[in-house]
């Protein structure tokens, strides 16, 4: 029998619905998997097994009474530790919140997840306040000497090793899609306005997004259905994201690429080859790959930094006043840099967001495209000992110096960005990024589902079996 922790959201949901699985068994399997893997990878900042099992029992009782709340009812989920979960501390990966007590209420996204029957397992490690500075304890499950992903690092690793079929993360310039790429899983930065960030510690009130990291493409859709604002979801998708993703497409699939841009981003040869192979597989299903000039996407980097860093100042001003010495110096430097940006540049960056979005959407519609495809990151996970800490540094083929440049456009414009697995050369997963039109989330997930259907992603789960693999690098 398949170990239950191996089930993706949609498979677990189906098994719960047909009565072949109970939420208690599924959640217990997650808790046991966490106990087995976390000594190796340190993905979790906080786990409340007793509360999770109690919620699972409630879910099973609802289902027995014929009152199941939908596809997420009974599914275990974890949450990046910048998002409030009632009864659990939010420490944001920061010493300044080391003594934080339990949050009094759920963030809006978590409350919606709970209303949909999701079972809250706990909180996942993050870089301090998601700024990407310092080094959380979380380790890459395939090679602890290598980078394990951007700021939703614990969420990415937890899904990769099978601790939970879905986690929530936040994304200001790629922090969901980056760990999805490094860990060989799916990560969605949803369209702006679908998922409330209320109750989360954000970097930027206008660029941050909360979204799912999952083992499968449809899992992303099912979680998005649960955490999205119901009215916005209904307007955008005519009901369910998952149903919309599974609907037959209206016409042939066309995907745009700009391989010259990949070269300027310093994309390494193994990455380029992996992405081209995925595109070729899609082409085998009838998709058409269209070469375009998308060089205007590069405009998003500086504008994204100007907006996000300047908006980080009001987010952190009062906390810094109380405890600046307890922030990492690198985090302080980023926030202080934001305070020094000329307000005229901030206004200009804000004004260019809508025109940039329109330019991208025109490129999509003029060529009849569903998505713009590119590598999520320029390289597989680099060695921690040699990688630059500054994500905007130029570097060689192992550098992630272009990471922000490659992913910022989605945050700046509010358009959806989906990171999906695209091969694992030399044991290091590669991600493909799909950028779509506003509220094109389901279309992107449909493309991902098509690729997953012909080329399953979970052939090899790291730490499987756990014994003798990936020894803790700190031991």
């Amino acid at each position: 029998m398949t170990e239950l922790w191996r089930l993706g959201v949609e498979d677990a949901s189906q098994a719960l619905a047909d009565g072949s699985l109970s939420s208690v068994d599924l959640v217990r399997s997650s808790i046991e998997r966490i106990a087995a893997t976390d000594p190796h990878v340190h993905a979790w900042a906080f786990v409340d097994a007793d509360a999770a099992l109690a919620e699972a029992r409630q879910s099973d009782a609802r289902r027995r009474a014929g009152n199941a709340r939908g596809p997420m009812d009974g599914i275990p989920v974890g949450v990046k530790d910048v998002i409030d979960v009632a009864g659990m501390p939010t420490r944001g990966g920061s010493e300044s919140l080391a003594d934080a007590g339990p949050a009094e209420r759920d963030a809006v996204s978590v409350a919606r997840l709970r209303d949909a029957g999701g079972v809250l397992l706990g909180k996942a490690h993050t870089y301090e306040f998601a700024f990407g500075q310092g080094q959380p304890p979380t380790l890459n499950p395939r090679d602890p000497a290598r980078y394990a992903g951007g700021s939703s690092i614990g969420s990415g690793v937890a899904v990769a090793v099978g601790d939970a079929p879905a986690m929530l993360g936040t994304d200001t310039g790629g922090s969901i899609r980056n760990p999805a790429s490094v860990n060989g899983i799916v990560g969605l930065k949803p369209s702006a306005g679908l998922v409330s960030t209320e109750g989360a510690i954000t970097i930027s009130r206008t660029m941050d997004a909360i979204g799912p990291l999952t083992a499968s493409a449809l899992g992303c859709a099912i979680v998005l259905d649960a955490i999205a604002d119901p009215a916005a979801r209904d307007r955008a998708f005519g009901g369910s994201v998952a149903d919309s993703a599974l609907r037959p497409p209206a016409g042939p699939l066309r995907i745009g690429v700009d391989r010259d841009l990949w070269s300027r981003w310093g994309v390494g040869e193994p990455v380029r080859t992996a992405i081209d192979e995925s595109l070729a597989r899609l082409a085998d299903t009838g998709a058409e790959i269209v070469e375009l000039d998308l060089s205007f996407l590069d405009a998003a980097l500086t504008a994204g930094l100007v907006v996000s860093l300047s908006e980080s100042v009001p987010e952190h001003r009062s906390r810094l006043r109380a405890a600046a010495a307890e922030y990492l110096p690198g985090t302080r430097v980023m926030i202080a840099t934001g305070a020094l940006i000329d307000p005229a540049d901030v206004q200009l960056a804000l004004r260019m967001r809508h025109p940039l979005r329109r330019r991208i959407e025109r490129a999509l519609s003029a060529a009849g495209l569903t998505a713009i495809a590119a590598p999520t990151l320029p390289a597989g996970a680099p060695l921690l000992a040699t990688m630059a800490s500054e994500l905007t540094d130029a570097g060689d083929g192992e550098s992630l110096g272009s990471a922000l440049r490659m992913l910022s456009a989605a945050n700046l414009t509010g358009l959806p960005g989906l990171g999906i697995p695209s091969g694992e050369p030399d044991g290091r997963p590669i991600g493909m990024h799909l950028l779509g039109r506003m509220y094109g989330d389901a279309e992107l997930i449909a493309v991902a589902h098509r690729l997953e259907s012909i080329s399953p992603w979970r052939a090899r789960v790291p730490l499987d079996p756990v014994i003798s693999q990936a020894p803790d690098a700190r031991e």
Binding site: L305, V306, A336, L340, L348, R351, M352, R359
Partner: protein
């Protein structure tokens, strides 16, 4: 090596406190110098995008 201007240092000190601002000043100076170096190109591209957007707005 760049240093923060007195005006910049005042802004940073208001945010972080004078002592920490002094400690972090070299790193902040390097970061803001890098960012400001990219601003002329950003301003040109952003202004063009805004102009083009206004010209084509329905």
């Amino acid at each position: 090596m760049s240093a923060l201007s007195s005006g910049d240092l005042e802004v940073v000190a208001e945010l972080l406190g004078a002592d920490i601002a002094g400690e972090d000043a070299p790193a902040i100076a390097a970061a803001i110098t890098d960012l400001r170096a990219s601003l002329p190109e950003f301003r040109a591209i952003a202004a063009e995008l805004v102009r083009a957007g206004e010209a084509t707005d329905d």
